[in-house]
Symmetry: C2
Subunit: 277 residues, 2 copies
């Protein structure tokens, strides 16, 4: 029996869905049926959704759950009358924050972002372009403009981590793959030496690396366990000898790697948030 | 006077920070000083943070705000004694959900993701690799494997939107730039014809496009207003004639474009969430 979960919003609904997804990870056995209703703009929209909620509640023995970031009092009034477990972001957070801070919320829904936030938009776009252009050491001349340079052997998670940090924190991230040649030389590649303070290393369990590489190039030297063991062992020695901070990515997510890097580099950027609901 | 805002978590803290960033967008005049304390693992960690909170409260006239996704009752007890406005995700959501659903939360903090979730991890990595390999029509043979193909003239937002959808929804996104040659032909490029149902078009205000292009190649034909006007006008005619759904990206964010595409294509994927806190 799946539990119906509604995400209601006058904008994208990404905030409530991200929050709820995180909450549901604490309930292993729960199977959910997500129902997204973004861009709700008037009382007629809300009444239609209220009818959908009532129908879901009638058809299921499991409670119907509603996460809402709607702002209008009239809309929230309609929701409160629905047969559901309602989590209303406005009541839970905005109202208490108004009281505590002594200021009114602007209560502007679905605000557009193009004009006033052009600077922030451009910063984000530039970071994404920088990241794409500096993936896999493609354009090493740009290391000077990088905020962080992620290093590691092939398939340790450099590219997805770089993209995550560019998209979510508008940082200029370059990444550099440690090649066999680099590893055999037993010291930091010359090209990286001027930027030591920007470096962050990734490592991984050799067996896990083998699995990942096997999917890309099955039964190759590249994906052999001995090759993976050699590369990882040598890269870790290099990190330790040159005191480059590093993290094992075997059993953590891109998000967790990113937070570790930000903390290590003391980069206190805010999360880019352009959906405001 | 900046308001100190603490993000406490036994894992990454991304959930509370994303939520709070969204909430603060409703308070235009509020200036915040974010203080991240992820990976809090024992009562000694919490006591140290509690001391930091008390100090922040002493030093400021503005209320100190704390967002916490800590699970342990002992830790939350310490927080409740702090001189701050506390938003405790466990109390606000997990506990009521347990009661309503009649099941206990697993209360496992900082869970690792490497082993059980290899399949989901691989799907996400493959989507990111697909997106990188199929950016700007580079590898058109792969359109068959694409979930969505985003089209538009240069600098309308194709690449960042593709990356966002790959990272957050593990979808295979290709994108194809409409060239002058395509536009002059006045019909859908042959290469796209077999995949019409996968196409989604982006458009933009020509003046905005000019600004964006000007930053890339100042004073060029490429960034002239007349060129931007011609390309946008012709692309929009093409979208309408061939009935390709499209959206104007002039004043909306990557997140908003992404939600519009997902809704249009009825892709009900869940948000990828690998940080669970």
């Amino acid at each position: 029996m799946k539990t119906s979960v509604f995400y209601l919003s006058d904008s994208t609904g990404i905030t409530v869905e991200t929050l709820a997804t995180s909450l549901f990870s604490h309930f292993d056995t729960l199977e959910i049926n997500p129902i997204r209703r973004p861009n709700l703009s008037g009382i007629e929209d809300i009444k239609k959704v209220a009818e959908e909620i009532s129908q879901a509640a009638r058809e299921s023995e499991s409670p119907t759950i509603v996460f809402s970031s709607l702002i209008s009092e009239e809309s929230r009034e309609v929701l409160r009358a629905c047969p559901c477990e309602l989590y209303d972001i406005y009541d839970l957070f905005i109202k208490p924050m108004e009281n505590k801070l002594g200021i009114k919320s602007s209560a502007i829904t679905g605000r557009s972002h193009g004009i006033g936030e052009t600077k922030e938009y451009n910063r984000r776009m530039n970071a994404i372009n920088f990241c794409m252009a500096n993936d896999d050491g493609e354009n090493i001349l740009n290391f000077e403009k990088a905020d962080i340079i992620i290093i590691g052997v092939s398939r340790t998670g450099k590219t997805p981590t770089s993209l995550y940090l560019a998209l979510n924190h508008s940082l200029n991230i370059a990444n550099y793959p440690l090649t066999n040649e680099d590893l055999e030389s037993d010291k930091l590649p010359d090209i990286l030496k001027p930027f030591k303070s920007k470096l962050f290393g990734l490592t991984i369990n050799p067996t896990r690396l083998q699995q990942i590489r096997h999917e890309r190039r099955p039964n190759s030297q590249y994906s052999s366990l001995s090759q993976c063991q050699y590369e990882i062992r040598t890269a870790e020695v290099l990190y330790r000898q040159t005191r480059i901070p590093f993290i094992d990515t075997s059993s953590i997510s891109i998000e967790e790697i990113s937070v570790a890097i930000l903390n290590n580099k003391h980069l206190l950027t805010n999360i880019v948030n352009n959906f405001n609901d």
